[in-house]
């Protein structure tokens, strides 16, 4: 069995320039790099198949004949083509590089606006399905959502190909995405071929082929570009969940280990009918332990009425006091809009950082007096005062929980924005197709 030389040098019958056929017997068509004439590599005289009629030359970013290393395997760039789809009258072009390794076969790189995909032939046939009523395909354990279908035309070719290639070739392409992957079908009259691409950083390609310049910066969001927020959203919510568990554990811990001890619990009666001094002081009670808070709860039986309490928590030894006032009012009724109510019968207030010691409470209740109000009846109420030492202060925890929500919500919004930009380039632009949480396994 004759082993052919790997590289065969011939002359282009159109322009006389040297034509290299690098994969010899596998190559069917070769395009002269000088005059861009498509030649039949299977004939010894390189029969002319198509002459170049375009006006502009397009420079491939990865030069033809350049060998690079992908996953420590050598791949040679042997063919380059530019293909175009037209959407709403606007042409979009992308570049395709054909890579070859005599053992591993073929592999493709595609580039559009700085977005690269590493593409291989798919050996399984995707099965059609739907995701929220829209077309999708399933293959190799992943669901890919339909992104775009279009007629693709080859507009520029260079190098060698193991198939028949002509400028003007048309195939129907359909792309399905599950970032960072994309499966695509190309349909001709004779066959359907499927390929699977993985989104890859242009820097990886340029490094693999040892190209000196910097790869073009990607513009916009590409169909299967992995969302920079995808992993982050999940992480943000995981962190949120973790911190919340911690927070509630702390809350639980504090509610158990705070003293929460009742130091005063007494019921009183007040009426405006009594003309005497309304203020009085309670018995002395002891606030123990460290510097901590004190919670005063006032429960009344007010009924369409209000009361004002002047309080002072006074240290018996020093005479130092904490003065504060509370108003309790409870009104309700019915009007044309239905029943309404305002205020409540109970009130609660926390006095922070009270040092230990012996204290008493001075109380001065006040209600609407006949003189000022003009009502005929006296106002009266039963009320109960409860004083607790060292109560768990949960409001802080609720506030913290609310603050903790900010980062994950923010990240989720950013992610939704990214998905909207992605799907704006698809056949489903403008619709509700985006979906910030793609159901496929994109995390």
């Amino acid at each position: 069995m004759a082993t052919p030389p790997q590289v065969k040098a011939l002359a282009c019958p159109n322009c006389g320039a040297g034509v290299q056929v690098r994969t010899y017997a596998r190559t069917l068509n070769v395009v002269c790099v000088n005059c861009l004439t498509v030649l039949d590599a299977s004939t010894p005289e390189l029969q002319i198949l198509q002459k170049f009629e375009g006006a502009t030359r397009i420079r491939p970013l990865v030069p033809l004949g350049k060998r690079g290393k992908l996953e420590s395997e050598a791949w040679e760039n042997i063919g380059f083509q530019v293909r175009e789809i037209v959407v709403d009258g606007v042409p979009y072009q992308w570049h395709e590089y054909l890579l070859f390794n005599p053992y591993k076969g073929y592999r493709y790189l595609t580039e559009y606006d700085g977005h690269w995909n590493d593409v291989k032939t798919l050996k399984s046939i995707p099965s059609p399905c739907t995701v929220s009523g829209k077309p999708a395909v399933q293959v190799l354990g992943r669901t890919y959502r339909h992104f775009q279908s279009a007629e693709a035309t080859t507009v520029y070719v260079m190098g060698e190909f193991p198939w028949q290639v002509r400028v003007g070739d048309q195939v129907r392409v359909a792309d399905y995405v599950a970032p960072p992957f994309m499966v695509s079908s190309e349909t001709t009259a004779d066959e359907v071929t499927w390929s699977i691409g993985e989104y890859t950083d242009g820097r990886r390609i340029f490094q693999a082929f040892e190209l000196k310049e910097a790869p073009p910066a990607p513009r916009g969001v590409y169909a299967n570009q992995p969302s920079p927020y995808a992993g982050r959203t999940k992480r943000a919510w995981t962190t949120w969940l973790f911190l919340n568990i911690l927070l509630f554990a702390l809350m639980f811990f504090f509610s158990i280990f705070t003293g929460n001890q009742v130091v005063l619990d007494k019921s009183y009666y007040f009426t405006t009918a009594s003309k005497g001094e309304a203020s009085f002081v309670t018995d002395v009670f002891e606030l123990k332990g460290r510097i901590s808070n004190v919670e005063l709860t006032t429960s009344t039986d007010l009924d369409n009425d209000w009361a004002y309490f002047g309080f002072a928590l006074v240290n018996e030894a020093t005479g130092q006091g904490y003065d504060f006032g509370r108003e309790v009012s409870c009104y309700y009724g019915r009007d044309s809009d239905g029943s309404w109510s305002e205020g409540g019968r109970n009130d609660s207030v926390v006095i922070p950082s009270v040092p230990p010691g012996r204290y008493y409470l001075r109380v001065e209740p006040e209600m609407q007096s006949d003189a000022s109000g003009g009502g005929s009846a006296d106002h009266r109420m039963n009320y109960r005062l409860q004083l607790r030492r060292d109560v768990p202060y949960n409001a802080f925890f609720w506030f913290a929980a609310l603050l903790l929500l900010v980062p994950p919500v923010f990240t989720s919004l950013r992610r939704a924005g990214f998905e909207t930009r992605r799907w704006n380039e698809s056949d489903y632009a403008g619709g509700s197709s985006g979906g910030s949480d793609s159901s496929s396994s994109d995390d």
Binding site: A2, T3, Y24, L28, A74, P102, Y103, G105, K123, L140
Partner: protein
């Protein structure tokens, strides 16, 4: 694997069999196609010069498939619109034999099987057609009109006086592979799977200059 030795009835060169069940082989020296008849070899034809080869696989290449080692002992070479295409005949260490195809460096391992249901005739098979076999949905992916080019080495059946060959390639959602070979009547069915080059752990491959 017993090594049966015989002599080419055409040129007298020794003919060694790597696989005792081989039905046909070729003489390395005079390229005669030799078919086993009881104890003797009959020359039934001559292999034309085969075109330059592109496959990295060759006779005596060894590999591993599903834990069984195999050795390539023969091949059938076809040509189709995209170039050459080899069906390498592989003999496994348990004495069975199967095929390793290489078309455009896409590799598939397959075995001759009894069709679970009668196969449609050549004029009734079309792309997109489906078969439900043993719980798997096979779909016709391509109809290939190939030209028989030649044979080399040991084959499990007589295969030499062919010209046109029609194949229907089958695919599944899980990378399984099938091929209906219409060169025989009734047609033959091969089932297997697409395989990655690395997974076969091939040894004794052809070397390509510069690679």
């Amino acid at each position: 694997m017993s090594h049966v030795k015989a002599f080419c009835p055409n040129c007298g060169a020794p003919v060694e069999f790597l696989w005792s069940s081989a039905v046909q082989t070729t003489c390395e020296f005079c390229k005669s196609i030799l078919v086993r008849r009881d104890v003797s070899l009959e020359r039934v034809g001559q292999v034309a010069d085969l075109p330059p080869d592109v496959s990295p696989i060759q006779i005596l290449t060894e590999g591993l498939y599903r834990g069984k080692s195999f050795q390539v002992v023969g091949r059938i070479l076809y040509e189709y619109e995209l170039g050459g295409w080899n069906e390498w005949h592989c003999v496994y260490n348990d004495g069975t034999s199967g095929w390793l195809s290489d078309a455009q460096a896409e590799y598939a391992v397959s075995f001759l099987v009894q069709p679970p249901a009668p196969l449609p005739p050549a004029d009734r098979i079309a792309r997109g057609g489906t078969f439900h076999w043993n719980g798997t949905l096979y779909q016709v992916t391509t109809i290939t009109r190939a030209r028989y080019v030649g044979v080399q080495g040991e084959l499990p059946f007589e295969y030499w006086d062919k010209s046109a060959a029609l194949f229907a390639d089958l695919g599944t959602p899980d990378a399984r592979f099938g091929a209906i070979d219409y060169t025989e009547n009734p047609p033959l069915l091969f089932l297997g799977e697409s395989v990655g080059f690395d997974s076969l752990k091939l040894k004794n491959l052809r070397e390509f200059e510069g690679w």
